[in-house]
């Protein structure tokens, strides 16, 4: 228990006075204070685990025995972060496949159609698997609720998945080409919605690491999706057809890096969740892979192998970004600091008469 951690306790001054008065003539045994049951604050445990030196001093806050205020999601990382990646990949691939179809790039069109359908099929399996009652997955379509991103997403998926599936089936079998093309075009319209809504899905929770990024997450996710879709295009298309995939991958990867940086800068204390532990490792690795992939895609314009490697790096970077964001949300929901500190700051600012914008951020005089 450090002095700093006791900071918010208004009784601290009184306690010291009493200690001095009562124990003035005898040595204070070390156990004396240990007997005080104190509500949890920023305890020494976390401080010891922190590797980097904090640039700003640890904010003072109080909590109930260090217990989290909000509940961490019960979602499994492999299912849900995996779905975030695969859904984005499918959505962006469908856009690429439609463009390839319209501009006469058959191999790019075929590869991305099959990739999109495969990714969305695995996504659906992962989503159903993650339910507490998988047999009741069809309950998702009982209602359409605009207040529930998951409900909206279920309906988007039930429009998108059959279209993507029809496009891929037609590409594989060579039958029903018109239905295949119609499916590809419908997929290109619904695909971006699949990629974008997942940002709202995460942000519409009390998880600080996700909600504090509610303005940026949809852009981060479509950028990441474009990087992944472009990466898939670079993997499946010959050099003669790969140019659009290359542009999409490079633009998506670059935007992903920029938006992620911008998002963390706006998050305040919550950005720490993106820099600590597993989330930090995932995010840093993702950034390295995405950056390298984008660079290799630009430089490898004349090499099939370098292009394919760039595609692989962009795909891996996109996947790790999703796992990193997922993990950062988990970290932020398990530590009361990320809930209490921003809320307390908001409350104190309101009490001081500073304007609080409708979105909760503070406008200083």
């Amino acid at each position: 228990m450090s002095e700093e951690a006791r900071g918010r306790d208004d009784g601290q001054a009184g306690r010291d006075a009493i200690s001095e008065e009562v124990h003035g003539r005898q040595a204070l045994s070390p156990g004396d204070h240990a007997r005080d049951a104190l509500t949890g604050t920023a305890g020494p445990r976390r401080r010891r685990r922190r590797r980097e030196r904090p640039v700003v001093p640890e904010p003072e806050f109080t909590s109930y025995y260090g217990r989290p205020v909000v509940k961490p999601p019960v979602w499994k990382a492999l299912d849900i972060a995996g779905y975030l990646f695969l859904g984005g990949l499918a959505g962006a691939s469908s856009v690429l496949s439609a463009g390839a179809e319209l501009t006469g790039r058959p191999r790019l069109a075929r590869g991305t159609r099959i990739g999109a359908a495969g990714a969305i099929a695995v996504s659906l399996a992962a989503l159903v698997h993650d339910l507490g009652r998988p047999a009741r997955f069809v309950n998702m379509l009982r209602v359409l609720k605009w207040t529930s991103p998951m409900s909206v997403g279920s309906w988007i998926l039930s429009a998108y998945a059959p279209a993507a599936g029809a496009a891929a089936l037609s590409a594989v079998t060579g039958r029903l080409p018109r239905i295949g093309t119609a499916g590809a075009m419908a997929g290109a319209v619904a695909g971006p919605a699949v990629a974008a809504y997942t940002g709202v899905l995460l942000a519409d929770t009390a998880v600080p690491g996700w909600h504090e990024g509610h303005r940026e997450l949809p852009y981060l996710f479509v950028s990441s999706a474009a990087g992944a879709g472009g990466g898939l295009g670079l993997l499946v298309a010959p050099l003669a057809e790969a140019a659009p995939a290359r542009r999409m991958g490079v633009a998506g990867g670059t935007a992903e890096l920029l938006v992620a940086h911008f998002m963390r800068r706006r998050m305040g204390v919550v950005a720490e969740a993106y820099e600590t532990g597993r989330a930090g490792v995932l995010i840093r690795t993702a950034e390295a892979l995405t950056g390298a992939g984008a660079l290799a895609a630009v430089l490898g314009r004349r090499s099939r192998w370098l292009s394919a490697a760039a595609g692989g790096a962009l795909l891996a970077g996109s996947a790790l970004t999703r796992f990193g964001v997922f993990e950062a949300g988990m970290i932020s929901s398990k530590d009361p600091k990320y809930t209490v500190v921003p809320q307390r700051a908001r409350l104190d600012a309101r009490d001081d008469g500073n304007a609080v914008r409708p979105d909760g951020t503070v406008q200083q005089h």
């Binding site: 806050f61 961490p72 979602w75 542009r247």
Partner: protein, 287 residues
Amino acid sequence: MAERMGFFTDTSVCIGCKACEVACKEWNAIPEDGLNFTGMSYDNTERLGADSWRHVAFIEQRKPLARQEPGVDHEGPVPPLGTPPDLAPMNPMTPGEGGDLRWLMSSDVCKHCTVAACLDVCPTGALFRTEFGTVVVQSDVCNGCGYCIPACPFGVLGQRKDDGRAWKCTLCYDRIGDGLEPACAKACPTDSIQYGPLDELRERAAARVTTLNDAGVDDARLYLADTDDGIGGAGAFFLLLDDPEVYGLPPDPIATTRDLPAMWRHAALAAAGLLGAGLLAFAGRRR
């Protein structure tokens, strides 16, 4: 629509008996969820969740409960056992200064928010608002998607592991419909948990906090009683004796669905951007 019903939990008279926890478990047939010894004062329930719909928090503080004037004084340390009374700086005739330690207890429960994030985000419609203005999960509809769990700004809901579904306080929907009070309020021996029409409870709470403040308990304050907070006011609100975060409650909770229109706009823009950028990638040179 019946009158809106709710809880007023007056923590200033809570004695930490946990009768509310027991009564809730008994009435609602909630399974056992671990027999732990946490060392967190007398709190071995730890938090609200799928199998704890009432949770009594215990907080030990070196802080006077109010301005108290015991009229006696003492100096020096507590003497070792066996010290003759006349040598002791403090003895039963000169008791120590009172009021330097206080033990806060508070029975937490689902807040039955006016703007309930859990209800908003539920994709199946399993969560619904009752005629009493309370929020209840229909367990025969819930498919265990788990979205309500991180959506709740208070961390109230939990998932029952072997069952997969989300569970929380129903404000004893099966009792109040018959004119009975919820099990926890019925069992509470000090009326710390009060059940009734919300308007009436708010009036009673305002009077109570004034009484306490006048009596010198400056720390007494109401939590979630205002209707202009981030959840539009709660159906279950509290009288607390310290900051909400001391009790493990969020100081300024918001239902994140408040920001949903903005989020949908951002998502629509982002989706349009992906479609536009994707098609733009086909413009320009062929290689």
